[in-house]
Amino acid sequence: MDPVTIDTTKIRTTKRKPETALEKLEDTGMINTILAAKDREGFILLTTIDQFINWGRLSSLWPVTSGLACCAIEMMAVSMAHHDIARFGMEVFRASPRQADLMFVAGTVTKRMAPRVKQLYEMMAEPKWVISVGSCANTGGPYHESYCVLKGVDNIIPVDVYIPGCPPRPEAWLYGIIQLRQKIKNEGYGVKWGLNK
């Protein structure tokens, strides 16, 4: 097939027929009245609902009580008086994965534990997020050469935020949590449907 040469001037001038709901609204000019602020270009209704739901989700991340190794002690330290993740409404550690939204993979995932971690993740109800904490969970860390350690928990479950450290300081945990909150803020149905950016 011959290479297609693109006439850029033509594209700029040609107006496509509006197809999607958004484009139709743009066409009529009504969009300006119902669009949200300029920095958040999207469908205002969906944006608002998305923002509200995401706010609910990011404000009440309940972690599942599952510590694997060293990092679990720092997980306890994070939830205790000095660092206190309760400020984010996260002190509600749920022992049952069904009621939890967030899993800290805190520690070395051994070959023997890997299927259980995966099972635990699968038992959690959607929407769910995973934070991989510490070198061991990220890559295998100091135990990378070991015969019975999984080289990174992202081999078995999807991970949203990685926190490096061995073990990470509580401040690093808090930073990781804030990153996850930021991430949740930008999720939503509007994003999925291409209406919000």
Binding site: S60, A86, F88, G89, D101, A125
Partner: protein, 365 residues
């Protein structure tokens, strides 16, 4: 003279001169009963909204109180001092996936949380929030409350059984054993109060506690029956299933007890029911032993309002006490709890009843 919330609404409408007009309109179309239904629905809506708001506030209060005892701050980011935390929790739980385990009994599994919540809501019917602020003053109010409370263990058993999970089942069986052994001292202690009042109506119980002895000590039954009050309080905490008696959901033993398998909105129902139960039971304790809505009369302010304030203050005192208890003591063991119930509480409750009956028969008071 109004006696319940229905009458109060009618009285308010009459006072501002709207009632006759509305009544006239409905009489014209020959459907007076529609107006009655509407007023009843308004009363129900007000109570339900009030209870739900209280429940949300309580869940925040509990976390905050927990934090204060433990030298922390508690929720801070979500809203001022984390006050919107319960709303965020609610929004999140609403949007959460509703899992039903593979081996579960789907119908019962779905039904159980709603039974729990509804049975707790029903307790509020004969509960006087203030003078005239009562949905309906049942003649058998106290009996009704005890009977309705007995539905909760059944629905917990349903939940535990339907989950097809050993932890849930153990939790449910524990809950039933606990409720059976503590409803008995609860009822016997309540009867001791009824002996004094001579009526099962909650309103009569409150009215019997108005006034003062020697001009200073309020005529509350806590001063007449201190033993009865302590027994009733312990039995109530056991019935609510809170620490030190929270076996049905004891996290370190049974993961999450009978609601281990529940997620999303069904879990939220249990969550709501727990706090609604806490509020209801505290209200009952206040009504029976702490003088209900009685308190010093303040001139110029309508008694309906002051009585509501007194009731709320007293109820929150009881609630804070149970929360403080949760923060400081560990959990007892299930067999120790049953021992306490059957071998200590029931004999003491009977003794309390005996003394009360003797005092009343002898005509000392």
């Amino acid at each position: 003279m109004t006696t319940n919330a229905y009458d109060l609404i009618v009285a308010i409408l009459s006072a501002i001169g709207l009632y006759d007009m509305i009544l006239g309109f409905f009489q014209d179309i020959g459907a007076e009963y529609v107006l009655r239904i509407i007023i009843v629905l308004v009363v129900i809506a007000v109570v339900v909204v009030f209870v739900l708001l209280t429940v949300m506030f309580l869940s925040w209060l509990e976390r905050k109180m927990f934090a204060v005892v433990q030298a922390r701050y508690g929720p801070m980011v979500t809203g001022p001092r984390g006050l919107f935390q319960p709303i965020a929790d609610g929004v999140k739980l609403l949007g959460k996936e509703d899992t039903i385990p593979a081996g579960a009994d789907r119908w019962i599994f779905t039904l159980a949380p709603y039974i729990v919540f509804v049975s707790v809501l029903l307790v509020f019917i004969p509960l006087p929030f203030g003078k005239s602020l009562i949905v309906s003053d049942l003649k058998v109010g106290l009996l009704y409350i005890i009977a309705i409370s007995a539905i909760t263990p059944i629905s917990i058993l349903l939940a535990g059984w339907a989950s097809n999970n050993k932890y849930s089942l153990i939790g449910a069986i524990r809950a039933v054993a606990q409720d059976i052994s503590y409803t008995i001292p609860l009822a016997i202690t309540a009867i001791a109060v009824v002996v004094f009042v001579g009526s099962l109506s909650m309103l009569d119980i409150v009215n019997a506690q108005s006034g003062y002895w020697f001009g200073i000590i309020p005529k509350w039954f806590i001063f007449l029956q201190p033993l009865g009050f302590i027994l009733f309080l312990i039995a109530c905490i056991a019935e609510m299933g809170r620490i030190p008696f929270d076996f049905q959901e004891s996290e370190q033993e049974l993961v999450a007890g009978f609601f281990t398998e529940y997620s999303g909105m069904k879990f939220a129902m249990f969550f709501l029911a727990e706090y609604a139960h806490l509020f209801a039971v505290s209200g009952i304790i206040v009504t029976i032993f702490l003088g209900g809505w009685n308190g010093p009369v303040i001139p110029l302010i309508p008694i309906e309002l002051t009585s509501l304030v007194y009731f709320i203050i007293k109820t929150y005192a009881v609630i804070l006490f149970t929360m403080w208890l949760r923060d400081t003591v560990p959990r007892v063991r299930i067999d120790q709890l049953l021992n306490l119930g059957w071998k200590i509480m029931i004999p003491l409750a009977l003794l309390n009843l005996l003394v009360a009956a003797f005092v009343v028969t002898a005509g000392v008071i």
